[in-house]
Subunit: 210 residues, 2 copies
């Protein structure tokens, strides 16, 4: 490998160029926001010319579509595995929490991007995520939880249609705010293993001792 990379290398020279551009865009979007990120900045972060960004993604809209489809959806696919019929709901949801928390280890941009561009009103990925979120799977899960309530295995006072968002919030919010609370005295030792145990404990038994 040479020390100085040629800028504006042709696509054939780097099969991964598109993937590197997507990673660079995803990171910039997470850290400084979609609105504040120019295609020129994406090119610079990926060490290519702006022309190269336009070569792979005709325009900004195409780049945003690709970030949602090929990056954010990697996370969604990782988190959602269909629960087996008759599966214990607490086990299913604790498994989902663990996959969310571990998934962020390999996609550290996820909580930031989610807070900034999906949760925030006017977030620039919100509409795109809405159109692609697996609402059918959320509904199937809610139906399964409702079945559990009817056959007496699931807490009858929880709301099946809110449980997915509850588990997402419990798992993702501490990660999204980690840069705030991890800097506090006596908080540095709280790692993802502790967080998984904590969320699992509440989902399984609530706050009181069994």
């Amino acid at each position: 490998m040479s020390q100085t990379k040629p800028r504006g290398r042709p696509a054939a020279m780097d099969q991964n160029a598109r993937s590197i551009l997507l990673d660079a865009a995803t990171n910039l979007f997470a850290h400084q926001g979609v609105a504040a990120t120019t295609l020129a900045q994406v090119a610079r972060a990926a060490d290519v010319t702006p022309a190269m960004v336009h070569y792979y993604f005709k325009n900004r809209d195409q780049l945003l579509d690709a970030v949602v489809d090929e990056r954010v959806f990697q996370f969604v696919e990782l988190v959602w595995t269909p629960p087996a019929p008759g599966a214990d709901i607490a086990t299913v949801m604790a498994g989902m929490a663990e996959r969310i928390i571990r998934g962020v280890e390999s996609m550290p941009w996820l909580p930031l991007l989610w807070v900034r561009e999906v949760l925030s009103e006017g977030g620039m990925l919100r509409e795109r995520m809405m159109q692609r979120l697996p609402f059918d799977r959320v509904q199937q899960l809610a139906a399964l939880i409702g079945d559990g309530q009817r056959n007496g295995t699931v807490n009858p006072d929880l709301e099946p249609r809110l449980l997915f968002i509850t588990v997402l919030a419990m798992s993702l919010m501490p990660l999204a705010t980690a840069s705030i609370w991890r800097t506090r005295p006596g908080m540095q030792d709280i790692d993802n293993t502790v967080l998984i145990r904590h969320v699992t404990a509440i989902l399984r038994h609530g706050l009181a001792r069994e």
Copy 2:
């Protein structure tokens, strides 16, 4: 009351002018972000001249300080009531969840402002909130929960230092995303009473039937 309000009325004419300006600023900050909001927009929303904004708040920093101290902190004060010694932890945390959810009814800007300006990296109220958050109370609460674990009344697998953020996440996240999920078919009937019952149920007993 006259139909046409005079613009730029002197302060003495309206004791509430400062409060109206704070409300207008808080709303604009929540819906379009601090960075995108000019003092001129705040003046327009409050139906006063820009000079009036400068009269009450010398500059943008003073306005941000006042929004945090006099609006966001109304919410913090509402949510935090000191738990009685020996209080049942599930009851304490369920009470906190209920105060968060009901508090948003009178401060509907809170979830949006929190997501946009506190949770988001680079959020413009983040530093200000950090300096003012009642970390001492969070620590006292964690100590109380730790006591409960030692005397066998609290689930030993949960992490006392994470419980406040968990309850905040479970309560606030569904409200922050309500404009997304309430528009989905079959979700419109989920109101705050349902949300309070749902969060309380999980905090008290977890997902499995007692």
